[in-house]
């Protein structure tokens, strides 16, 4: 078996450019690696091998013709809720299993233009609703470090595949931590860009004011490459921002001398796993040694973030998911009349957690409850945004844990959704405030499960994430450690 699958995107691009390997070689290596690992991991929902190889051949032909697009021939896995023309896009839901996407998401179109081979649909919590990937209608994905444990969610399949090297890089989406938390649980790099940085057009909406497309990768440099390709204004997304996209690769090279990094204690919630706290504290120390100044910043409203998040997100979701009625697409269940058609389709098609969140969201928007829930949650959101504004007046980036714990055993929190929701405490404030966040590997627990460090930057300040993340990564070797699954080299 070739060892091409071990490469980062940066390394693969170098080999493709030099002619040391072809895109077809890379796709074949990936397929072989998937075959070796996915029986245990279930990271993929599907992978159309023939189509992937055909795309790779086209990429190789482009290269032979002198093309040198930045991702030419690089296989990219896609979380199953991002539309790729001609591919399924079930969103992990039973309801959308028969649906084939008629169009490319803007981020996908930009990847295509950059030469990427769009290869595989990655497992996820249904419609992005979950933190453990246990809410997939296809069955859970498993953590490559310990398959008895969850990979995190909702982009659990993407994180598991990247960590197990059955994908070079994957797209994920992050509404409340759905990229960063699984990245932390699986020991890879997870980037949630600022709201508006990447077009949401083609990303199946969970909570429109919080969703962002991002990447799960083996290195910070790969995350920067992916963002460079996907970022920028899109006329088809009114919430995308018309701002210059900086040169991320250049920003990454600057050292940490003179940087002020905020380290708020507010993220160290009660019940945090001491191993996680130790790893994060050590990482912060490491950043100090690399030349950064660590300062304390106050974030008094973080404690309300989870409550506000679950009101705002479910409210938006309750309407975003209303379109899945079986009339135009999806797994239709006939009823005697249109109302029953919709109701039967939804009853049969949605899983438990999705139903729970639709009901919750419907409730908080109901007449008479709107002010008490939705409006109040929006006020909390403003306060959290202000907390961050004040913090960023004093520092360049903020460091925190990604989650209070490392990956937990399958089923551990399934019966208690509230416990599961509380695990999102460190990540949801970033979405509520529209900021960017990066999860980078920073150590292991005593049970050898990976721990992530979260770097939070101001809105549109991804350069800072890459700078801190890359400098830290280059000074440590956490990111080079790989799980032993599938007979890893």
């Amino acid at each position: 078996m070739s060892d091409l699958h071990l490469l980062t995107v940066t390394e693969l691009v170098a080999r493709l450019t030099s002619g040391a390997c072809s895109s077809v070689d890379a796709v074949q290596a990936l397929i072989a690696r998937k075959q070796a690992t996915d029986g245990e991991l279930h990271a993929y929902i599907s992978l159309d091998e023939a189509d992937a190889l055909a795309q790779a051949q086209v990429a190789d032909a482009r290269r032979a013709g002198g093309d040198s697009a930045p991702l030419l021939g690089v296989p990219v896995g896609v979380k199953d809720l991002i539309n790729v023309k001609g591919q399924p896009c079930s969103c992990g839901s039973k309801l959308l299993r028969p649906y084939t996407s008629p169009y490319d998401a803007t981020a996908v179109a930009r990847l295509r233009e950059a030469g990427a081979v769009l290869c595989g649909r990655l497992n996820m919590d249904e419609f992005g609703m979950g933190s453990s990937n246990e809410n997939s209608s296809y069955g859970p994905a498993y953590n490559p470090w310990d398959t008895a444990r969850v990979p995190g969610g909702s982009s659990g399949g993407s994180a598991a595949a990247v960590a197990a090297e059955s994908a070079f890089v994957c797209l994920g989406s992050d509404t409340g931590g759905s990229i960063r938390q699984p990245a932390s649980f699986c020991g890879c790099v997870g980037l949630k860009p600022s709201y508006g940085r990447i077009s949401r057009f083609g990303l199946t909406a969970y909570a429109s004011s919080l969703d962002q497309i991002g990447s799960l990768s083996k290195s910070v440099a790969d995350a920067a490459t992916m963002l460079q390709v996907m970022a920028g204004w899109d006329e088809r997304d009114s919430t995308s921002l018309d701002l210059e996209v900086p040169d991320y690769a250049a920003a990454m090279q600057q050292d940490l001398t003179g940087l002020k990094l905020g380290f708020p204690q507010a993220f160290f919630v009660e019940g945090i796993d001491p191993d996680v706290a130790d790893a994060v504290n050590a990482a912060v120390e490491h950043c100090r040694e690399l030349g950064a100044e660590i300062i304390d910043v106050q974030m008094p409203h973080i404690k309300y973030a989870v409550a506000a998040y679950y009101v705002v997100a479910t409210a938006e979701a309750s309407t975003n998911l209303a379109r899945f009625d079986g009339v135009r697409y999806g797994d239709r269940r006939e009823g005697g009349n249109p109302e029953q058609l919709a109701s039967c389709t939804r009853a049969a098609g949605f899983g438990m957690e999705v139903k729970r969140r639709i009901i919750l969201g419907t409730y908080v928007l109901s007449s008479g409850y709107y002010d008490a829930y939705y409006l109040r949650a929006q006020k909390v959101r403003s306060l959290i945004r202000k907390d961050f504004e004040q913090a960023f007046a004093q520092c360049d980036a903020i460091l925190s844990p990604v989650a209070p714990t490392a990956a937990y055993p399958q089923g551990a929190k399934l019966a208690d959704p509230l416990q599961m929701y509380l695990g999102d405490i460190c990540t949801v404030p970033v979405n509520l405030a529209g900021l960017c966040g990066l999860s980078v590997p920073c150590g292991f627990t005593s049970e050898d499960m990976p721990v992530g460090l979260q770097i939070i930057g101001p809105a549109m300040g991804e350069e800072m994430l890459f700078r801190v993340g890359h400098q830290y990564e280059q000074a440590t070797d956490w990111h080079t450690r790989r799980p032993g699954i599938g007979g890893a080299a």
Partner: protein, 476 residues
């Protein structure tokens, strides 16, 4: 119990804007295309598709607001209104809940010589839905219409009779046509009305329980349905019954309204701001620029026709009623320089033929150039009235140059030197009537004119002949 019950009526009128593309996507708004041909992931509500607001739709709504004397909200937003129905692709409608684009305003009407202002509450911009068709074996949905920009124009409860409702709709249509914001084509469903009505004792402080008649698409239907519904409510109340708050449907054939569904449990639409769209922010400068480009409204135009063109009030009123006709009139006057003759042709021949043929001006071959040519031909007395009418019908049906038509059809009146001997001949041959005329019987002159016309085979100008005869015979 005897009481004088009076109706209170308010209208919600949905007006489709005549933008080229839909409100959230680039799909065409063309009417009458095969089902589901003007659709895309956005207007079909596919997963991941996002709306982007059509700026032309904002502009046309602002134009409407200014023409209807509304206040333009410099900051408005769109909200989601949730309810399930198969014709609605997202199962929420994007509309404007608490911050509409336009507030207030009004429409002036006149019924039986009484002038009145119907105040508006608001105008908001929303999306139209698709269209359901029911067959024996099931139902079909056509989403071509889904996402057509729609203004909802809401009145205050200022309307007091079916006639006022009718007058309001006619005036509204006239203004919107002038603004070129909508096709205003009722057959194509460009204007659809929800009618709210209630009755209460005269002088009462509170309104009665209201009913709503949904989706009326003719003005006559609104008038008839309202007349029936008010009668029904009065009969109900006088008979000791109560009016239920409900939605009713107008059955045009049966000539009555019938209950559709009770509204006692008000639908909870769960409005909240649409997170996919940014608030609409307008500047005073933008609104002023639109204001500066507004077309002249019918009332102003009518006044100008009277003061500047010297037309009678009546002529001016008829001409401005339809913007297309008024525009055509002005273009014809610009070429011919004769407002009154243009007006006579338009009010006479044009209106008659439009009615007879049941067509609109755009459907005819008539151009300002051809009518102006006819006006000049007629003023130069090269054709007589009868000839002019014949030529008008030709240029109306087939187009063409009036002068050429006059030649081909042999309608040019004979020159004076051809007619003069004929007049002499008639005077010689009809001494009786000549004597009658001379002795004061004016009617005898008509006979003599007729004889000249006969001799000329209709190619004389009767008015000129009449004048010449009278001069020769020494009458007036």
């Amino acid at each position: 119990m005897k009481q004088d019950l009076v109706p209170t009526v308010g209208l919600e009128t949905h007006v489709q804007l005549n933008t080229q593309s839909k409100i959230w996507c680039a799909c065409s708004t063309a009417f009458g295309c095969p089902p589901n041909t003007n659709v895309c992931p956005v207007c079909l509500g596919y997963p991941g598709a996002l709306p982007v607001l059509n700026e032309e739709a904002i502009r046309k709504t602002v134009i409407s607001g200014l023409l209807l004397e509304c206040e333009i909200n410099l900051r408005s937003k769109h909200d989601r209104k949730s309810y399930f129905y198969p014709d609605m692709p997202k199962n929420y409608q994007i509309t404007q809940f608490d911050q509409p684009l336009c507030l207030g305003g009004g429409v002036d009407i006149e019924v039986d010589g009484v002038k009145k202002r119907i105040r508006l509450n608001r105008i908001h911009l929303e999306e139209d839905v698709g269209k359901n068709t029911h067959y024996d074996h099931g139902s079909g949905v056509d989403y071509n219409r889904a996402g057509t920009p729609l203004m909802e124009i809401v009145t205050e409860p200022d309307i007091a009779s079916p006639e006022e409702a009718f007058a309001y709709l006619v005036a509204l249509k006239q203004i919107l046509s002038y603004g070129d914001v909508s096709g205003c084509n009722l057959e194509q469903g460009n204007m659809r009305c929800d009618v709210n009505s209630s009755v209460a004792p005269r002088g009462s402080d509170t309104l009665g329980v209201k009913t709503e008649i949904k989706n009326m698409n003719t003005f006559k239907g609104v008038r008839d349905a309202l007349a029936h519904e008010i009668k029904r409510q009065i009969r109900e109340v006088k008979g000791g019954g109560v009016i239920r708050q409900e939605t009713r449907r107008w059955d045009d054939l049966a000539g009555q309204t019938a209950s559709m569904r009770a509204k006692e449990y008000a639908h909870d639409y769960r409005y909240f701001p649409d997170p996919d769209l940014m608030p609409i922010v307008l500047t005073t400068e933008q609104v002023d620029a639109i204001r500066a480009s507004l077309p002249e409204l019918p009332a102003a135009r009518r006044a100008r026709y009277v003061s500047d063109l010297g037309l009678p009030e009546y002529d001016a009123g008829v001409l401005v009623a339809d913007k297309a006709v008024a525009d055509f009139f002005e273009a014809t006057v610009d070429i011919s320089g004769d407002a009154k003759t243009c007006s006579n042709f338009i009010m006479g021949e044009l209106m008659r033929l439009l009615n007879e043929r049941e067509v609109e001006l755009v459907d005819t071959k008539l151009t300002p150039e051809s009518l102006a040519g006819l006006v000049m031909l007629s003023n130069a007395k090269k054709v007589n009235n009868q000839g002019a009418k014949a030529i008008f019908e030709k240029i109306f049906d087939q187009g063409g140059d009036p002068e050429a038509i006059a030649q081909v059809e042999d309608l040019v009146v004979e020159a004076e030197d051809v007619i003069a001997p004929l007049i002499e001949q008639v005077i010689q041959e009809h001494s009786g009537p000549v004597a009658d005329f001379k002795s004061g019987k004016a009617a005898a002159l008509q006979f003599l004119v007729g004889q000249v016309m006969r001799l000329s085979r209709g190619k004389a100008n009767p008015q000129a002949v009449s004048e010449e005869l009278a001069r020769k015979l020494g009458g007036k």
